[in-house]
Amino acid sequence: MAAGGTMSGISGDAVVSLRDVHKSFGATEVLGGISMDVGRGDVVCIIGPSGSGKSTLLRCINALVPVDRGEIVVAGMTVTSPTLDKLALRRKVGIVFQQYNLFPHKTALQNVMMAPIHVLKRDRREVEELARQLMRKVRLSGKEACYPGELSGGQQQRVAIARSLAMKPEVMMFDEVTAALDPETVKEVLTTIRELAEDGMTCMLVTHEMGFAREIADRVYFTDRGVIVEHGPPKELFGSPRDPRTREFLEHVL
């Protein structure tokens, strides 16, 4: 069905599946056997101490980082297959980074339009219409002609979200997207993500915003030193954590 990937035995309705994923950088093991399933429309949050491998996990899912061992399947494509069509995979998985990484030489609207035009080769007029619609969606109507340097951090981050959405991905991943923002602008970005989740977008969030995770997540994963220590609905994980490491971490951040 999907270009460049073989169908896998992993269960049917999961959009993202990981089985025993291992990854080391040199001698440091960063992921030590991660397994998880994310169903269509699910919102999962990944929390854990710094250096526990959260960013690496997201980067493995869209093949920015190759894994050493294990299997990852995204929207029917086996990410870990040697014949993976990376470009096809990345059309299905959007990722937004902490540092926005907008293209500074393009306006907000051009940032949103670039990939659909040059990667998907779609008609420019059609794309522009889509881009304006997405700018409205992230509540940035009127800022289309601004360059990233003229926007606040929160506004840039919302443009980055719109830019990812323009590829019409099936899964959106957010890597600590509010970590570099002022408290006031954090809210507007979280609002955008909340609305996306409500629209039924499959979301994977790495976040330090525990309140937001509790509110929005269907499931929360707590990772430490490259393994998932425990996971469950936010009520359970935040309310009555079973593992002492989770308890210690939560005491620290809450």
Binding site: K86, R91, I95, Q99, P104, H118, V119, M167
Partner: protein, 280 residues
Amino acid sequence: MSRPFAVLLPFRPGDGLAGIAGHRADRRAAAGLALAAGLILVHAAAHAATAGAKPAVLETLWRWTPFLLGGFVWNIVISALAMAVGTALGFLLGIAQISQVRAVRAPSWFATQLLRNAPWLVLLFYCMYLLPFQLHVFGTRIGIPDWLKAAFGFALPVMAYVSEIVRGAIRSIPAGQWESAEALSFTRSQTIWMIVIPQCLKRMLPAWMNLYAIVTMASVLANVVGVSEGLTAAREMLAAEQRVELLLPVYAYVLLWFFAYCYPIARATVFLERRWAVAH
């Protein structure tokens, strides 16, 4: 008489030799040179005024100006062509230097280093003697004039410098730009040409303009390998006039032409550097 003074006026005499090691060394040295050139002209003018019968030095210079300019134009043609060819090739060489393929990266690095660390005059000699004086294309002979060969000779070091400028600028772009482009499915060459290079242009422009000014000044080297240019014209004029007192004023006059051409470029470079330093 008033012409050289008009050039002199804006500069304070003390500036000429001071602060060579400082940040504005280039500008001050240039100002100093202009000062020296102006003084020589004035001196020559005074000398000629007392000499009597022969036409005054300035008058002679004025009469020969079209001829001298005709030579100087070749310095501009050669250097501009060298920059055009060298920049186009250097761009590709610079991008090849960051190739993921070792077999492309290593030779481009080597070529860059080799050309960048070779004396320009040697490269010039190589081009003069290695390039044929004519090409056979589909049975017709196309001559390659000497000035064209010289332009290619200068294009070699330009290529190497541009290659380094491009490589440096590309490396100065934050890794996040590459990563988000990759995450958006841009291919590597799309990322380079549509995202990285456009951001580099601004960073490269001051260094590139600086290079242009240097190449223009270096273009007199073409004279050594027998190509006619500004300095050749000056020599021919001196040979025709056979007057010792013209020697220094004529060279000073040629120098002034270079100054008038290169100094605004240097100033514009400084201006752009300052303006864009604030931008990021």
